[in-house]
Amino acid sequence: MARYLARRLITLVGIVIIISIGAFYLIHLLPGDPATVILGTGDSPQNRARLYAQLGLNRPVIEQYFVWMKNILHGNLGTSFISQVPVWTTIRAALPIDLEMIVLSQILSFAVAVPLAMSSAKRPDSWLDRFLGAFSFTMLSIPAFILVVVLVLVVAIKWAVPHTGVSSYVPLSQDWVTNLESMALPSIVLAIGSVTVYYRVLRSDLIATLQQEYITLARSKGISQRRILWRHALRPSSVALLGTAGVNIGGLLAGGFIVQYLLDIPGLGYTLVNSIGLSDYLVVQGIVLVVSIGVIVINFVFDFLITLVDPRIARE
């Protein structure tokens, strides 16, 4: 186990380095110029040159990268060109919003998907199974940004639930009721996408598991069907589910960006989109780096969970 973890950790460091290079070059390839944003279009070339030197942008790109990396290794993500706020301060304010959104949406997804998959797998091809199959397929094909608009129309406008919809975000620590009201909508939107995927993955694995001889043996013990499903079938069926969840949650960070942008929730995605518009290089690089590390760590955690769920996997 220790060797397995060590091997994974080395891979992780390698991936982070590659991503940092990618993030760095991509932002420099984008059109836009921080000097224009700060000074406006009409300023003199001398002033621009001075600003470039001040920001370190006159140096070769490779050198800029190494300066950036050196600072990161010293725990310093730099300071925004535009707002003069340290990048880490910006990220620290926005990150909890993304985390809350993801945690809420995942709790919701698993709470819905697991029982649904079980009731489908218990009787494949029953009317319930067919209905859920068709319904999940429909939901899978609706993009998140359309769901957001529809839900805002229904929940915030038609039902007039307070604090849902646009621009009402309050931190969890400040007022949890208002916070949950405003986080409910984005969490539900993200959960709908996850539920359909989890339901489909778990359903087919459960059906396969329920055909296994050890399920017949469990049945022959005279234990209830509920116990068979939860104690004997769920665990061996959840390897693919956990793998999918690991990948999906990474994707949710990106999917969450759109939802945040549409609902004016000041998470990482919202900040990232704004910073790209402002050519705020260090903020963009910092967010991309933090998000990629987050995605890798999440996958790492889920891979680890898989070894807990199926003791046969860690050996290989």
């Binding site: 022959s220 013990k221 004997h232 061996p236």
Partner: protein, 332 residues
């Protein structure tokens, strides 16, 4: 042997709905089993013996299966009983030792937990008592270092050890009837005898009745008192083990006997194989199902189906129009 009847099987027929039509895997099977008695059910693969053992237990899949006839275990009817009613029987009155220990244990649950599930859920024992009893059961089925094996996962145990665990699970609820469905097919030859002897020993020690399902007559010869020979879902011969071995009348029984290897044969003796293949259950011949493969078959065999009729010895029945003569003093 007690006269008290534990299991009464009458005219049991099990049919599956398949895309190709209705498949009758067990067709009109009847027999009785007394308390403490052990019965062998023998036949080739596809003869319906596994389906029969599942039907006796009521453990067939929930859908796509039609069972008729009657199976009474301690007077309680199994055929048509609700899942809840059968659950009461399972584990406590009847338990099964499954065919392949590689697939019949849950790969992600510790073996000890798989044993004490019966003890905790069915017998209501608390965690500590169940654990202690599970370790006792592991010791009883001959697993060394039972205390540490309690926490082992199936993949870390050998096939023989796993089958011992499966037996321990079956014994946990102290059932009166143990159904052993080809309990040694998945195991090495050297382990097979150990497992069979273990079954034999616990059956005697715990005073259970046992049905031993196998294709190997050598397995049942010394371990059962009576035999049921099955072919294409029907009983073709039944009687005491001694009578079936020494005074069998049905040509299929003889073919089965001759096809099992004997230690007394000189080495490199060619095994007598039964010619032809077991019949397609979806398309059975009109007459005797064995007729196409039988050296003694007549026109009557091909048009009319023989029913079980008594032989000279009490309890010995066979279904054949051209029974073999009894070989006096024939070796068994």
């Amino acid at each position: 042997m007690s006269d008290e009847t534990l299991l009464r099987v009458r005219e049991v027929t099990t049919a599956f709905d398949t895309p190709q039509g209705r498949l009758t895997a067990v067709d009109g099977v009847s027999f009785d089993l007394a308390a403490h008695e052990s019965l062998g059910v023998v036949g080739e693969s596809g003869s319906g013996k596994t389906v029969l053992s599942r039907t006796i237990m009521g453990l067939q899949p929930r859908r796509g299966v039609a069972v008729t006839g009657s199976v009474r275990l301690n007077g309680a009817e199994v055929v048509g009983a609700s899942e809840g009613a059968k659950r009461e029987l399972w584990g406590r009155q009847v338990a099964m030792v499954f065919q392949d220990p590689m697939t019949s244990l849950n790969p992600v649950v510790k073996v000890g937990k798989q044993i004490d599930e019966v003890l905790r859920v069915r017998l209501g024992m608390n965690r500590a008592a169940a654990r202690a009893r599970a370790i006792e059961l592991l010791e009883m089925v001959g697993i060394p270092a039972a205390d540490s094996r309690y926490g082992a996962y199936p993949h870390s145990l050998s096939g023989g050890m796993r089958q011992r665990v499966v037996i321990a699970i079956a014994l946990a609820g102290s059932p009166q009837l143990l159904l052993a469905d080809e309990p040694t097919t998945g195991l090495d030859v050297t382990i097979q005898a150990q497992i069979l002897n273990l079954l034999d020993e616990v059956q005697g020690r715990l005073g259970m009745s046992m049905i031993l399902v196998t294709h190997d007559l050598g397995v049942v010869a010394t371990r059962t008192s009576r035999l049921v020979v099955m072919y294409a879902g029907r009983v073709v011969e039944t009687g005491t083990t001694r009578d079936v071995f020494a005074r069998h009348r049905m040509p299929y029984t003889r073919a089965l006997l001759e096809s099992s290897p004997k230690v007394s044969n000189p080495s490199h003796t060619r095994l007598a194989a039964i010619p032809g293949r077991p019949p397609n259950l979806l398309d059975l011949p009109t007459g005797c199902a064995f007729a196409p493969r039988c050296a003694y078959a007549t026109d009557r065999c091909r048009t009319e189906r023989p029913v079980l009729e008594p032989a000279d010895e009490p309890g010995h029945l066979f279904a054949c129009f051209n029974p073999l003569p009894v070989r006096v003093g024939s070796p068994s």
